[in-house]
Subunit: 387 residues, 2 copies
């Protein structure tokens, strides 16, 4: 186990009716609230009205910025930054899923910075200050509700999709009412659960040894998300399944499960390039990339992969390689059950931009991944395994 | 899963050499530091010197209060409160295990309260303020380094041992260097690991249904503590085993694992009465009480016990009761491997005070436990199963 520092002061407010407290919680940070959200879904499912009522009950000044799309855009972030400066925003309330929260995080940092917000994503500058933010979560997936990270797509420059980390990004509170997930379309359920599973597996596959506790915690979380994704996919108003998914999504990405170890994260970057070029939903890019990544790297540390196959999938075989390949097959079957693509052909993407995507993945980096270090050729080979 | 609110802003600073930062961390809270610790062990193993050096490097004013004993006493807490008021203490640094930290927590609250500190333990008053505190942990066991709770023994009134909870008790930081555990005597290793396991099992046995994620996380933590306790017990300078034990001890008691569920905690209170009357170490009281409690209550929800037997101990049997009894036997064997008592006769305690202890357990309560509600007669019966 490596040395580590764990600090996560996000307050998780979980369960039915918890959104009623949102006005009171926002009020403690000031009067001027930027309400940030996506499109019409929160208006259709009633979440918008509930939030507005709670904010108005506290006589808060509400400034709205909607229009966040999946793979949230830098241009909207810039608009939010200007709005915050102009209206003296005290607190940002993100109502939505990971894209909305990530967009809100970038706005929160950008509004307290004199330079260009994109600098943080490509120049590794440390954040110094941020407008505090809170979350009402409607899509369990990205884990952004208590994470230190944000991912933004630069729609002004070739749709480069880049992430960054800062403890300033940890929301002050996150309200998680599983009922808010009932109206999610099947495709979003699948993509969200796939993302949660990916966050767990990216952490699991590490070269750091002697990480028994976090290995076992991740294994438990993987079983939970796989079981409950299937339930919610087939029964979208199952409160208990949604509760497990929401709580797992938060735990999967609040940094607890990567303490003392170094996660891999190559699959995320490889998938980001697919999303950047083809605007493919993050979860659907991951369900294609992860099996390919696994097939490409498992030999690098077969014992770790065999442990995963055994403990999570209960596959036992003297031939470890056979067990691992069976595990990957089972994982692909799970994706297929959720009607997610597992090959590029499933989403009509051909090999014409592999070279370009591999190039882009290394624009600001020399190497991808930590479990096995990957170079441009490796990434190109992995795209080829996705065909 | 029940509604819940999770908030734990303790900063966990984990690993080799992390104690070197303690002076800098304390300094950010003020100049006057109360250094609270037990007896000579931290002087013998060098921890005291390292901490003093780091505090002196920052020119802090150090006021020392030592003498904390296992089952920390109210009288010393009162002494600490007076000292804090007299010396205008800005920050309390607890260097030791759960007893030292619990004592420091009570001092921290008492120093900011005009009335009698014991009121909090028996009258359910809410805390309003506290002197901030930090921890250098030397004994992984109580989980007090990031928990909301403290347990104090009233040596002025019949040695009543009572606990209380407050978010004010969460330390600002906790420094966990597994090397500091190398000098622990075998008996303390065993008692500490037994306490950690108990914290996990108290949370596990709940009547709340649909708690898959936390069930699975607890199961993983139980396996980890059982595996690594045995390793450290037989190889006391095994860094990797101590790292697992320390991190598990913190996770076991920082409230994460009881979100959305209600733990039992009857065994703790039943064991507290043994410690109160006979000054028996907490861990050794638990290794006697827990198997007896299990035998007394398992029929109340055999499925939960069978799940534990199957998933943690891999015992599979069509006869669930047989499997559960086998699990309890395996647990007792684990205690015995660590040379912990599993019966009162092992520590030369007879049945003469069962009635008195059962009486005392209900002094400020009408009922014990949540998995199965226990009344005075039940507790008396459980003591009889401990013979």
């Amino acid at each position: 186990m490596l040395n580590f520092e764990f600090y996560n002061p996000a307050r998780i407010v979980f369960g039915k009716g918890t959104e009623e407290s949102v006005g009171e919680r926002c009020e403690s940070f000031g009067k001027n609230i930027l309400l940030h959200y996506g499109g019409g879904s929160i208006k259709k499912n009633g979440v918008y009205d509930k939030v507005i009522k709670s904010l108005k009950d506290k006589n808060l000044n509400i400034f709205e910025l909607d229009g966040v799309k999946p793979n949230p855009r830098l241009s909207l972030v810039r608009e939010g930054i200007e709005l915050c400066k102009e209206k003296n925003i005290d607190f940002i309330l993100a109502v939505g899923g990971g894209s909305v929260i990530d967009s809100a995080k970038a706005i929160a940092i950008g509004a307290k910075y004199e330079g260009d917000i994109w600098d943080f994503f490509v120049k590794g500058i440390a954040t110094k200050d941020a407008i505090p933010l809170g979350v009402v979560l409607t899509i369990p997936a990205a884990g952004s509700e208590s994470s230190t990270s944000t991912v933004i797509t630069n729609d002004e420059d070739n749709n480069y999709k880049r992430g960054m980390q800062s403890s300033h990004y940890i929301p002050k509170f996150a309200i998680l009412n599983p009922e808010f997930c009932y109206s999610l379309p099947k495709y979003q359920i699948a993509c969200g659960c796939c993302d949660i599973l990916a966050h767990l597996m990216e952490r699991y596959f590490t070269e750091v040894e002697n990480v028994e506790l976090s290995d076992r915690l991740i294994e438990g979380a993987v079983k939970t998300i796989m079981n409950n994704a299937t339930i919610a996919y087939n029964d979208n108003t199952n409160y208990d399944a949604w509760a497990e998914i929401m709580w797992t999504g938060t735990i999967a990405h609040n940094n607890l499960l990567n303490m003392g170890r170094i996660g891999d994260w190559a699959s995320h970057q490889i998938a980001h390039e697919l999303s950047g070029i083809y605007d493919l939903t993050h979860g659907a890019a991951l369900s294609i990339v992860i099996p390919a990544w696994m097939k490409y790297v498992y030999k690098h540390n077969i014992d770790k992969f065999y442990q995963f196959a055994t403990r999570v999938f209960h596959i036992i075989d003297n031939d470890k390689e056979k067990a691992v390949l069976q595990m990957i097959e089972r994982l692909e079957s799970w994706y297929k059950e959720l009607e997610l693509p597992t090959k590029l052909k499933d989403v009509n993407i051909d090999n014409s931009k592999f070279e370009e995507m591999a190039q882009r993945a290394f624009l600001h980096k020399d190497v991808l991944g930590n479990f096995k270090k990957l170079y441009k050729e490796d990434v190109f080979n992995i795209y080829n395994l996705c065909v």
